[in-house]
Symmetry: C7
């Protein structure tokens, strides 16, 4: 009746995403599949890597190309999320 | 018998999308994966980011290319949704 | 035993698609991901945006390129559906 | 205990596909995402738009490029299915 | 308590795939999305169109480009499967 | 209460993948969608065609381009797996 | 009532991913579908191959192109993960 195997596995599945949850309100750089980068404060993230970014800056080829207020990025476009250390960004 | 772990996780999953729900009837700019942008009033949105946009304007390369009345955008094409502040658009 | 949270969420998920259902038998313009447009009367639509279009006209680069009778468009190709007002098309 | 909401919604989901089911043994033209077209008698179709086509003809750029006997087309490649009227094809 | 509607629909869903199952040990030509073709004896197939092909021949632009013994093709790459009549291939 | 139909179908679904399981510790050649090939001993494979390859060699255009020790290939990139006969590779 | 078949199959499904779990805190090289490589210590990985990489280095065409602290890579972009032996990297 107990099902330790599946419990453990479910626990493992969400670990990287749990780590992401703990980085809420940190500054991040998000690179999308189209190579555009977005920088800002990650105020929200879910298990699909849907992210809400505040004070979002858009960079194309390393150059600032746009400023947005609040942006909701659809997770399936995300290549990676770089979590910035607290001291500088 | 209680399952606090999963309950919490489900709650977290929909948080960015819940935020989107609270932006209903706000002006938004939606960029699609093909780089075309749509601006208008978001009268409806769901968990896949399917969006209904009223008074939709289409912009290609920053230039207004078409006016539509009511447009239903299929969520899987969305790159991001930029929620506009209430004062101006 | 009640589960108001999930009930509410499920309700929200299908809202833009419910709106689509209410537009059955209206004239629509459907743009696909390959930029081809189809115009006609939407006699049927489902939650994946699979659509049946009657008297379907195909437009490429704004020019009428083909006339079809009844067309069943697979939803995953849809970029957006533009619901036309009743008066003209 | 009754669940009218979901029952109704499930019913709606499969409506365009039900229509397809009723077109079995009709002549169809199927355009795939790669712009190749297949014409023949649709002897079978399922909810993913997997189709069995008999006496299948392949057209590239409007020109007949191959004749196949029986072809099973994988649904995820389908752009649309054009159901031909009974009188001519 | 009975649920004839769903039972019937499930039955319909797998019909083209059931037909494929009946073609096991027949000669087939499989075209993939990348336009490469594989010919051989289909010794196994499942609902995702994962296929095991024996004595597999690879054709690029209609020219034999490689001979493989046993090949397991991942179903999501399949464009269509052409079932060859028994007499010749 | 019995459900022979679904039991049989489930059995059929995993058959090609079961065959793959029986090829564990055989030499294989795996072609990915990007046309790069990996050769080595397949020490592990699952139902998504996620594969662990030992003594992996990478071939681009038929030329050895890299040697890796242990490689875990994500299944959704796989075009096909060619199972090598035991005698030579 | 027992269901040994499915139990065994589920066990098999997660085997390559279980192996990945055992490589946590090892040095890895991750190649993405866009051919960019990331090297670092894999401090976390889940069943979708979402990975957390510490001291991440980015290589384009074999040349170091960027240094990141902590990077969360979305699993669906992963081509393969090369697990480095403990002695050198």
């Amino acid at each position: 009746m107990s099902n330790n195997f599946n419990d453990n596995f479910d626990l493992k599945i969400i670990k990287p995403l749990n780590k992401l949850q703990r980085s809420i309100n940190k500054n991040v750089m998000i690179r999308l599949k189209n190579d555009i980068e977005y920088r800002g404060k990650m105020t929200n993230v879910d298990a699909y890597m849907n992210v809400i970014l505040n004070d979002a800056e858009e960079y194309a080829d390393g150059t600032l190309s746009a400023n947005y207020g609040k942006v909701v990025i659809r997770g399936n476009n995300v290549l990676f999320i770089n979590i910035k250390p607290d001291i500088l960004m």
